[in-house]
């Protein structure tokens, strides 16, 4: 009668069911990866794979940062500025007395703190996330510009080589981040973020600390975005106060591509990660095929609309039959 036969497997059954809903997306991602490997067989070497995942890594992080909030029923327009600020702080603190570890702690702390403050404003003062993060993006950009008015700063070469060299460290880091997310989602608070996004009143009545869940979601989102900034700084070897700008749009686009909905509680993080991979592959392909950056914009606009419209149209087409 029950698909869950032995008690230990409930978790696995739930996970399998979530995967089943994403079958189509997995197929598309696989098809694109195969196509990519055929076009650019270099990806199959260690170096090529490393470079590919390094391009993907920051996008994956900011997509998680965005999807986390969208699942909670919010959105953030402060992703790009947070990435920039992360990069700037990394580039300005790593030559200090505490060195690289100090820099990493400073970046992580800044991301968490800014996220928590934004989250507290949204949760406790009941202001709409889209406007608060919009205002926040100005403030964060301002701070980044004051810390480092023009690109520069210092990132130790060994760090750049380790993170963005010829080894797949970025990929391993991504795996670590994903495992951490899985563990977090298996905590009551992690599932609470989902529940509070879909049905905040119901979650509150069920005893989920809805406000705390929101603040934690914003804080984690800030952390992920700032860490993406640190990685970008390591990649480019310096800090740049506006380097994060494209990430705001891309994070939304990737999350939407991965099937994360706008109303909260709809979608999965694994879908969002697939979305970021898909977007990353598309950007890479266009870059390698020599498309001007302009064409990327046009294609991106079409892709975003298509990603949302096609499933919707399919749904209404099925309903009509």
């Amino acid at each position: 009668m029950s698909a869950v036969s032995s008690s230990g497997w409930l978790y696995g059954a739930i996970q399998r069911r979530r995967n089943r809903g994403l079958g189509g997306l997995y197929l598309v991602v696989a098809a694109f990866l195969i196509l990519y490997a055929v076009l650019f067989p270099g990806i199959l070497s260690v170096g090529g794979f490393s470079k590919f995942t390094q391009n993907w890594f920051p996008l994956a992080l900011v997509t998680m940062a965005q999807a986390l909030l969208m699942l909670n029923g919010g959105i953030t327009l402060a992703i790009g500025p947070l990435v920039s600020l992360g990069a700037v702080i990394a580039a300005t603190t790593m030559e200090g007395v505490f060195g690289v570890p100090g820099g990493i702690v400073a970046v992580a702390f800044t991301g968490l703190a800014i996220g928590a403050v934004i989250g507290a404003i949204v949760a406790h003062l009941r202001l709409p996330a889209i406007i608060v993060t919009l205002a926040g993006s100005f403030i964060i950009t301002g701070v980044a510009l004051i810390l480092l008015p023009r690109p520069g700063g210092f990132i130790p070469d060994w760090l750049s080589n380790m993170l963005a060299g010829h080894t797949p460290v970025a990929f391993l880091l991504l795996v670590v981040v994903l495992l951490a997310w899985k563990a977090f989602l298996a905590t009551p608070l992690g599932l609470g973020i989902y529940a509070a996004g879909d049905n905040p009143v119901g979650a509150f009545r069920s005893g989920v600390p809805v406000e705390r869940a929101k603040i934690v979601a914003f804080a984690l989102s800030g952390l992920l975005a700032a860490l993406a900034g640190l990685f970008v700084a390591a990649q480019t070897g310096s800090g740049d106060p506006v380097i994060g700008t494209p990430f705001t749009l891309n994070s939304i686009a990737a999350a939407v591509l991965g099937g994360v909905g706008f109303l909260g509680g709809k979608g999965t993080m694994r879908g969002a990660i697939c979305g970021s991979l898909l977007l990353s592959v598309m950007i890479n392909v266009m870059f390698f095929l020599g498309f001007p950056p302009v064409a990327q914009y046009i294609a991106q606009g079409l892709i975003i609309v298509g990603a949302v419209a096609v499933p919707e149209l399919l749904k209404s087409w099925r309903a009509k039959r």
Binding site: I131, L134, T141, G142, I146, G301, I304, V308, A309, E312
Partner: protein, 313 residues
Amino acid sequence: MNAVKSIFRNPPLLTFVLVALVWLVAGLTLPGFGAYGHLRYLLELAAVIGIVAAGQTLVILMGGIDLSVGAVITVTAILLPLISPIWDPTGLVGIALALAIATGIGFLNGAGAAYLRVPPIIMTLAMATFLQGLLVVVAGGSAVTVSNPAVILLGQARPFGVPSGVLLWLVVSAVVLALIHRMPIGARFLAIGANPLAARLSGVSLTRNTLILYALSGFFAGLAGILVLGMNRQGYVGIGDPYLLTSIAAVVLGGSSILGGRGTYAGTIPGAILLVTTTALITVVNASPGWRSIMFGTLILALLLISGREARR
């Protein structure tokens, strides 16, 4: 005491009082701020934001958001000089064409939202991205100078000492206020913004109103684009970018709910003036770009705390 309370309950009035206070204090403390020429200049700048925000107000009242207004302004400002026919000495044909294009872009946004069911925030964001790419292809990244006489007249003329941009804003304000408060379509927009499903089951057509709404937003953004072009005499890629966030900020400062269903353009008008004024003040204190950005963000946040609080769920 009661008077103070009623001001706090009436966001448009609150914003208006704030503007008056800021003008009064700045006029008394800063030399030159209160001069007619300076105030006129502020209103001229506010007119552009106000006109873009006219469309944005309508969209937000209906529960959507238009993130493509900046791109539409840029498109209009760049295309108008290119498409104004030489045989037309008045320049009106060029304006009509540019407005038609802007309205058409808005209509496409509406079609995406209505027929493809793409959420407006995504549809308009994608449209903005798309246009950004298209523009570079069309204009090649260089600035274009305008020679269209009607546009220059609009941007530079001052009948009776009042900039024609401000006059245009007055007309737009009258039209939009009438649309919201005196015409059935305004009530329909508000009903859809508050509860789309109930509105639909009450016989309000979502498709039709969505199409009209985004077409209107495109039209107003196009109008603002023409005004900006006339004031600058040049169109270039990125000219419209600052107006996206300011248009949304002006609506929110005016006390309209960002979630739709509640608000009025009467609040957006002082909201636009307040934004321009404070930006001007930030410039006066001669801060670095970083500090200016921080002040601007803090300002929006602070004003939100005063006027934009959403009701409990």
